[in-house]
Amino acid sequence: MSRWLRRAMFALVVAYLLAPLVVVAGVSLNPRQVLFFPPEGFSLRWYGTAFSDPGWYRPAINSLLVATFAALIAVSIALPLSYVMWRYRVGYAKAVMAMGLAPFALPPVITALGALALWIVLQSYGQPHTVVLSHGAFLTTLPLATLTVGLQNLNPQLVEAARTMGATGGTVFRTIVFPYVRPYLLAGFVFAFVLSLNEYIIAYMTVGFTFETLPVKIFASLRYGYSPVMAAISVLFFAVAVALFALVGRVGDLPRLLGADERA
């Protein structure tokens, strides 16, 4: 009985999560500039357009650049912070940690408005580095979460063992801690990267159309004329996300990276 319950539940959730994508994928295959589902025929021309029309591939490149640097910044904040939290007892580290985790406790629109206000005050509104930095700080939460899980799973006796064999702080980090948390670091980087790639409201409020990212471009198309290219791009986005997360699942143990217990 509970097996049927489980199957029904899984089917419902999977259908719910996949249904919009199925429709989008179908729409992307229309040969003409219409948004029919099921598609009127079969054509990959809109995927071609996504790669050949500078109106589409420039925002894509912008998004990839922003996501790469933003994820690097997120990781550069999260790694030392989570390490200090785990290794030392420093009074104000908790406050910094709270700032790192807080973005997800705020309505996203407020974070975006804060970024807009900050860059106006600093008179750099619209410049590419603003979205990189704001994304980096906003998405720090993700590597912070994965690294904290990783460090919690790290048996403190491993560190003690290294110390009895002569290793001190920096060496322990380099030879034991870092190799151990590397999969968690990678997972955190991927999460931040993929979320930055998809983030709309902060990008819209910091750089808007002056350094157009893909979500901003798609949103503009959503308001000023639908096109099957949007569907093609959406499918590609989803594919990139699935591929990256599947890669993380291959390299590391996904359940463990997401906070399940350490056991076989």
Binding site: L5, A78, V90, P107, P108, F238, G259, A260
Partner: protein
């Protein structure tokens, strides 16, 4: 079985790897320098600016000038905006409730599966979580449209006479809200659920509880903290969404984020946007705290007499 932890049972074991703080030297502070500066400038300062901005005066020529006026807050709290606020909160609460009703049983059942079997579902959940709100809005607008939506499917199997458009509208907004919130909720519940001792519901089963009764009497009380925290997280996340209500909603469903963005970008009225944001922040925090209190405050008291026995 194996030896009980050999560490002094009564004495507090030295915390994980945290050093006593003596002789650490400048290292922790050097390491913390960049995170502290970055997060202060990029997170705390912007919040401070917004808080101040709400009292500034808008000027036509530029963005704003420093002042101390209360008109922005007066407008943020007028009848129109209070109605928008109410709509936002009610929509977000409804979406949160539906999300939890789906996410709690799903996550529980998922974590009872072997680890390797969980991976494809986790990948799907992660990929859905990362899907841009813009793409989600686009996808649901297609799914609910007349030309390419499910209504065509229903016509084909004879349930409906003619295809209909369900977007924009309230159902579209709620469906899309739950769609973006569900993956977040699953991932937020996942650690607690997967650490839940598998034998506890089994033990309940040996004492005659049906799976459902075991879930309600054993599992739910153990995870209520995580569920409440997830509820708060989802509520805030949905409450702050902009693209979905803007794209999939009619004006009746335009929420606070739509108003804030409208004022900040279209109308160039940053002080009003800031005061709206502060109102939203205060209300969302209060409700989030209430959700957590509601989830954790009641049940422990019911459990007290049992402990006293």
């Amino acid at each position: 079985m194996s030896a009980p932890a050999a560490r002094p049972g009564s004495a507090p074991a030295p915390a994980s790897a945290a050093s006593s703080g003596r002789g650490d030297g400048p290292w922790p502070h050097v390491l913390l320098a960049w995170p502290t500066v970055a997060l202060t400038v990029l997170f705390l300062v912007p919040l401070g600016i917004i808080a101040a901005l709400g009292f500034f005066r808008r000027i036509q020529a530029g963005f704003f000038e420093v002042a101390f006026v209360t008109d922005n807050y007066a407008r943020a709290l007028d009848a129109f905006h209070l109605e928008r606020l109410t709509v936002s909160v009610v929509l977000a609460l409804a979406a949160t409730l539906v999300t939890l009703l789906l996410a709690v049983p799903f996550t529980f059942l998922l974590t009872r599966r072997p680890r390797a079997r969980q991976v494809p579902y986790l990948v799907l959940v992660l990929a859905s979580l990362s899907l841009s709100e813009v793409i989600v809005a686009f996808a649901w607008s297609l799914l609910l449209s007349r030309t390419s939506g499910v209504s065509n499917l229903l016509v084909a199997i004879g349930v409906m006479d003619a295809p209909a458009s369900w977007s924009p509208g309230l159902p579209a907004v709620l469906l899309a809200y739950v769609f973006i919130a569900l993956p977040l909720a699953v991932l937020s519940l996942y650690p607690t659920f997967s650490r839940l001792d598998q034998e506890l519901p089994e033990a309940a089963g040996t004492m005659g509880a049906t799976p459902l009764a075991g879930f309600v009497t054993v599992v739910l009380p153990l995870v209520r903290r995580a569920v409440a925290a997830t509820g708060a997280l989802v509520f805030i996340f949905v409450l702050g969404a902009y693209v979905i209500p803007q794209t999939l909603g009619r004006p009746a469903q335009w929420t606070m984020p739509v108003q804030i963005t409208d004022q900040a970008i279209m109308k160039n009225h940053l002080p009003l946007a800031a005061s709206l944001a502060i109102v939203l922040l205060v209300v969302s925090s209060l409700i989030a705290v209430a959700i957590v209190a509601l989830g954790t405050g009641r049940w422990p008291r019911l459990a007290l007499p049992r402990r006293a026995r």
